[in-house]
Subunit: 335 residues, 2 copies
């Protein structure tokens, strides 16, 4: 069950039973637009503030995932959730009404990996029939949290990401489906000393590299043993750094690498600079685009690697570096 | 193994092998002063900022706990950690050097319960020999995060808590010790609609009440089956509300209730108003005061219930309520 230095291979691998994705307008106009469960044309989601909007979106994603799986909140044993806002308030106020016993998480944009890891660990250990993993991010609340309120209309450098307005919710359990979570690799904090909070791709690429190599070594696999290796939100800048770092360590993943931050928006028509990012980016891409391909068997085995940049406005304004973390989830097709 | 609606009773109950507490000067002058492993007379812990100080303190607590257990960081499978600061930065930058695969958590002042729950779930499931659970809070960084920078010398209402400067680290594993974690009850978010962020005792008491009753019902126990029921940081205001709420539901825990926030400072000599609070409050009290009493058998079985108020400066300034959450850990003496 324990595998190598940082991984777990589940003896009774839990199933990813169902999921849901809820996004904002810009995401709906992007490359995956037709695949999302719900696109809200008004990014305030009928609320008064960006934070409330994010909470509403997260609650909607949970309810949709529950509905698709024909489950009610009381069927879920534990909820694992998080977001990017200070004190994870979007999650606390978002899932409150569901009244599911909950574990609040923070792993920056890697949180969807962290939540899926803990949910599958809990199911595999027999701690419950069903677990719910949910994460979200919102462009308006994230800009206000980390950079400037939208009303300032500030300019963004080309290395900056566009935070995805979206929430993905996932039901993990014992009930059979066509996707199994067969293993996980828990990430370490990796710090190359970078201090540019507007270049998160560079800050996160070393962590992605570390976790991917650890996964391959722990499971004694080659990159080709995965149909795709899909990082969360390295974007255009981070991807090229990841390729360089991996090549330096003797690995070439160019042939089967994808990045959620690079496929969610249309780089030609939508000006997002380095690509999409946020807790919601990897989550909604997994739900809408990746899982269907595993379900139908087009992809046999996928390594899903959400990546996070660990920082706050206080930490980088006080001159601290921006370390990264990445968690890997092994998803496999099953009949 | 699954017990009642929200609890787990471990078949192979993990041991709480060792722990460490690191605190600041005021805590060292308090009622538990002689019991802490390390008291730092300068609250900056040799660093330049409150946030760095908190990180340094957390790292120190981890290293002390590891040392006492004769373990090195590489012996720990997973670390579960969190703090009160935005984006959990004290933890990220505090535990970074240990290079242990980590799960970042946020549960406000309930985080020590959340971390111990996940660490014991992971050990009991066979995911590793040793896990590390760590939380911290710092008066300077918390005042800056949630209220005003210390330099403003603002006045605090009598219902306000004094954030404990302290970090507690706990090694949970399979190796025998005199304390076992025999069960956990995972809390739900409980919201009575209170909006006063300066009265956290009132905001958290309903969650404590909910989790304690859930624990008693799930395990089919009476309050007297516990030597002590010890909440995290309800303080003087929260305790009396807890007693009222519990009495309204037919439970009387007055005889065996304690609150970490009420025993850490000297209410007569140290002006803390409602008592101590923070992620570190329950953690250092558990490490220094509660565990020794369980180890020696003076207390046979303790219900440890850290409580958290889920809020951010943004949420309460935008008029949101301050819901609470509490997680319960069942600690038992063993020979």
């Amino acid at each position: 069950m324990i595998k190598g230095l940082q991984s777990i291979a589940f003896e009774k691998a839990p199933f990813l039973i169902n999921s849901a994705s809820v996004v904002g307008r810009k995401e709906g106009e992007g490359l995956l637009g037709k695949l999302f469960d719900m696109i809200e044309p008004e990014d305030l989601f009928g609320e008064n503030t960006w934070e409330e909007a994010e909470s509403a979106m997260q609650k909607e994603a949970c309810l949709l995932a529950l509905g698709k799986a024909h489950l009610r909140p009381e069927n879920i044993r534990f909820l694992f959730g998080g977001d990017l806002l200070r004190q994870g308030i979007a999650t606390s106020l978002g899932v409150e009404e569901l009244q599911i016993p909950m574990f609040g998480l923070y792993g920056a944009c890697s949180t969807s990996g962290e939540a899926l890891a803990l949910a599958s660990m809990s199911v595999a250990a027999g701690y419950g029939e069903y677990m719910l993993a949910v994460t979200s991010s919102h462009f308006g609340s994230a800009e206000k949290e980390f950079r400037f309120p939208l009303g300032y209309a500030n300019q963004r450098p080309l290395s900056a990401h566009w935070t995805v307005t979206g929430s993905g919710a996932f039901i993990v359990g014992k009930k059979r489906s066509h996707v199994r979570i067969t293993g996980i690799t828990v990430g370490k904090i990796v710090d190359y000393g970078l201090k540019d909070s507007q270049n998160m791709g560079a800050c996160m690429a070393p962590a992605a590299c570390d976790t991917i190599i650890r996964n391959l070594e722990d499971f004694e696999r080659n990159a080709e043993d995965y149909s795709r290796i899909i990082t969360g939100d390295l974007g255009y800048v981070g991807q090229s750094i990841l390729f360089d770092l991996m090549r330096g360590k003797g690995y070439d993943i160019k042939m089967n690498h994808m990045d959620c931050g690079m496929i969610i928006f249309d780089q030609n028509l939508q000006d997002t600079h380095a690509g999409g990012s946020g807790c919601g980016c990897a989550a909604v891409t997994l739900s809408s685009y990746i899982l269907p391909k595993i379900e139908c068997g087009e992809w046999e085995r996928v390594l899903f690697v959400p990546t996070g940049a660990l920082m706050s406005t206080v930490s980088y304004n006080e001159g601290a570096s921006v370390p990264g973390i990445a968690h890997a989830i092994v998803l496999e097709h099953c009949e």
